[in-house]
């Protein structure tokens, strides 16, 4: 009898926790947001439908949390157990009460002098397991915090920031491993994906995205260029528990705009890689842009979708690449299925059935500037994407235009920029942007919502037939996910550079998004 009561009490006394089982089933839990891409498939599809296309126009702010110093605020918050956990720029983080937005604890750590990053000290979010939260710090460290009070449980150096490494990625927890990527390909670094033991912080495996001579792929580099080969991994990957594969996109080869010092395809840069989750061993790779000289990272979301293509059920990987093409791959073996351009592309006429780009000559950067499309940032950049299984559409932002690509000569100097030039605007050309919805099975564009520039916030889609994103002018925007029709907009007062999320708390559906230095939640009036 006694033990019966104890059994009843234990679940009440033990704090609710994020378990490995919950992470695997995240797709089916509408109330929480447990990881960067919402689920292992990185769909950013919320099954909630209280807010839908018919009533979204009534959305109103529920609370606003001012978080000075968190900007540029690009994190995807995590939501579970009545709390919201979010990170910000400059090694910041905080835990908020889901009802009021009040802060339960804050985390901060000074960035040491001398950290070099291409683009700032923003941070894309926490990962969670048990009572622990994991985040990277800018100076290429990973920390585990106690989710109850923010206390540091362990801290591990990922690599030496003096070599040019930095970290901004949201980790992803796979089994008992915390998996992260690294930034720094503009500084002559060599990229990798790392897995750390969630209990101890010890590194379990590392996969270098640039092979050494003698390793498979090592012959796609000449001399010692591989040592500074780039291939950073600065956006969170996805995971297929059945195949036990982790998918991660890799960035540009180094130096970015001058390929003369690195003849060859430069594997595994600008590629999708599939790694065995337990060992970090490479299962397959697919290179989108061989020997890239336009900084077209392939770090954009790898989204996992089970689709019927030509009457056949397939496990696919969706990827809107910075190079202007949207790809569908077979995620079991990495085989190319299809790809289509979603914006103006000048470097390749098409992707051939064997998966190789059909190149158009004359696209190489030059001292006087060479026009190429899309521009350096893409096409689609890092901003979160979303796949809605109900519409069958995959959504992402796009910069539509061209740039002049310049090239310089320069010897490598440790810790200095090793980009070997830059881009500039094409005179009299006004680039635009758009929200693109493509048919996930065919990669064909279904509809397009044109804007002045690519939306700076990421995508969220819901079972209420909504597509929600934000722009740099501060608007949070809701479109009909089926048609792209504008349904609602709200001026938040700050540029939106993060992916919106949705969750349910005490029976009410919320949309939350960071705008400039504030975190804002929305719900329907009660």
């Amino acid at each position: 009898m006694k033990s019966f009561f104890l059994a009843l009490l234990v679940p009440l006394l033990l704090p609710a926790q994020v378990t490995q089982e919950k992470l695997r089933a995240a797709q089916n839990d509408p109330n929480t947001w447990l990881m960067y891409g919402r689920d292992y498939q990185a769909t950013r599809f919320s099954p909630l439908s209280q807010i839908d296309a018919s009533n979204v126009a009534h959305l109103a702010p529920a609370w606003i949390r001012q978080a000075r110093g968190f900007e540029p605020f690009e994190a995807t918050p995590l939501v579970f157990d009545g709390m919201m956990y979010v990170t910000g720029a400059d090694n910041r983080g905080m835990a908020l009460d889901l009802l009021t937005g009040k802060e339960l604890w804050g985390y901060g750590k000074a960035i040491p002098k001398g950290v070099q990053g291409c683009c700032g000290s923003m941070n894309r979010g926490f990962a969670a397991l048990g009572n622990r939260l994991f985040k990277v710090n800018y100076e290429a460290r990973i920390v585990a915090l106690d989710s109850k009070n923010g206390e540091v449980l362990w801290e591990t150096v990922i690599d030496d920031f003096k070599k040019g490494y930095s970290a901004t990625v949201a980790p992803i927890v796979v089994k008992n491993l915390v998996v992260i990527g690294i930034a720094g390909a503009e500084f002559g670094t060599r990229g990798f994906v790392d897995a750390y033991d969630a209990d101890t912080g010890k590194r379990v495996w590392r996969f270098y995205t640039v092979p050494e001579p003698g390793e498979p792929g090592g012959n796609t580099w000449k001399s010692d260029a591989w040592q500074r080969g780039g291939g950073s991994t600065w956006v969170t990957g996805s995971y297929d528990p059945e195949l036990n594969l982790i998918y991660w996109g890799t960035g540009n080869p180094g130096p970015d705009m001058n390929g003369d010092v690195r003849p060859g395809d430069n594997l595994y840069t600008c590629s999708m890689i599939a790694l065995d989750a337990d060992t970090g061993k490479l299962k397959w790779h697919y290179q989108f842009t061989p020997h890239d000289v336009h900084d077209w990272d392939a770090t954009e979301d790898p989204v996992l979708a089970d689709l019927t293509i030509n009457g056949k059920k397939m496990k696919t990987l969706l990827h809107a690449n910075r190079n202007g093409f949207m790809y569908v791959l077979n995620r079991a073996d990495g085989k190319f299925i299809t790809a289509k351009p979603y914006t103006e592309v000048s470097w390749a006429s098409a992707i051939a059935p064997d998966g190789k780009p059909m190149l158009i000559p004359g696209q190489e950067p030059s001292d006087e500037g060479t026009r190429a499309c899309p521009g350096l940032g893409g096409g689609h950049n890092w901003q979160p994407t979303a796949f809605n299984p109900r519409t069958g559409l995959y959504y992402f932002g796009s910069s539509d235009g061209c740039e002049l690509f310049y090239k310089t000569q320069q010897d490598y100097v440790e810790g200095l920029w090793y980009q070997l030039s830059t881009t500039g605007p094409v005179p009299k050309l006004h680039s635009k942007g758009s929200i693109v919805a493509v048919d996930a099975a065919t990669a064909a564009t279904k509809w397009r919502y044109e804007m002045l520039r690519s939306p700076s916030g990421g995508m969220l889609t819901t079972a209420g037939n909504l597509l929600i994103t934000g722009d740099q002018f501060g608007y949070l925007i809701a479109l009909d996910a089926r048609t792209g029709k504008l349904l609602w907009k709200f001026q938040t007062g700050g540029s939106i550079g993060a992916g919106p999320i949705s969750y349910s708390f005490r029976g009410r559906q919320y949309i939350a998004v960071a705008a400039s230095g504030a975190l804002i939640t929305f719900a329907l009036p009660q």
Binding site: E186, L416, S421, T422, D471, F473, K489
Partner: protein, 253 residues
């Protein structure tokens, strides 16, 4: 006393961080790395070849010695948009940049033609510039405030702006025309344009704001509202001579 000590300290720090001689002066390898750095850090404001755009033309830096250039890069320039690069570029990197900037120097423009006192008079009177531009709290509000223009622009780009104002319109000063649903056209200086709304100031300095979905049309025009100059060549020289003095940092003697 406290202030004096403070100023003295600042001066000492200034001397301590900047060497008087560029250790990499005329070193082609340093200029080459400097060019690479320039294209990462500087082109956004100074143009791909240092020709200037939002920031000054760096091919005309003859009035400043290497140490001044070094200090400006490290500390930024007060009252301008030039930021400090102290945290991101070390001493050697800064000297490499200085070496590159020197390598693109043009021959000195020679002594400045024009009479600045007459230029000021022309600005307020015959030129009619003060109807739209402001200097030291006087003048119109439609065009850019020119109170510190001498710090930001070279005389070449000033001449271009006076003679061909449509060629390079200052950021935020484009022309926009809105036709309302009842057929009224409002033309003015663009003060805001986003995915959903438009803001402008018309010629009477009245502010307007519209939802773009609630007007008949919105046209952004590739022209400046600034009229064609009525000044002679020598009068333009006079106005430029006055502009160059506005907000200028005194060159080292």
């Amino acid at each position: 006393m406290v202030m004096k000590v403070f100023s003295f300290l600042l001066l000492s720090v200034g001397i301590a961080i900047a060497q008087t001689q560029n250790p990499l002066a005329s070193d082609p390898a340093a200029a080459s790395v400097g060019k690479g750095m320039f294209r990462v850090y500087c082109v956004g404001c100074h143009g791909i070849n240092g020709q200037g755009s939002r920031g000054p033309d760096l091919r005309s830096t003859q009035q400043h010695d290497d140490q001044e250039l070094f200090t400006t890069i490290r500390k930024g320039s007060q009252a301008t948009e030039m930021p400090s690069f102290e945290g991101s570029i070390d001493d050697t990197g800064t000297w490499r940049l200085v070496t590159y900037i020197r390598s693109i120097s043009k021959p000195d423009d020679g002594p400045l033609p024009g009479d600045p006192a007459n230029g000021e008079k022309l600005f307020w009177e015959k030129g009619g510039c003060g109807a739209c531009h402001r200097v030291n709290g006087r003048g119109g509000r439609l065009g850019p405030d020119l109170g510190k223009i001498g710090r930001a622009r070279t005389r070449i780009s000033l001449r271009e702006s006076i003679l061909t104002p449509d060629e390079d319109i200052a950021g935020g000063y484009g022309t926009i025309s809105v036709v309302t649903r009842d057929g009224k056209t409002i033309t003015g200086v663009e003060r805001g344009f986003d995915n959903f709304t438009v803001q402008l100031i018309d010629l009477s300095e009245t502010f307007h704001s519209f939802e773009r979905s609630e007007v008949q049309s919105v046209t952004r025009e590739n022209r400046s509202l600034m009229p064609k100059s009525s000044l002679s060549d020598s009068e333009v020289d006079d106005v430029i001579a006055w502009f160059i003095q506005l907000g200028a940092v005194k060159a080292k003697q």
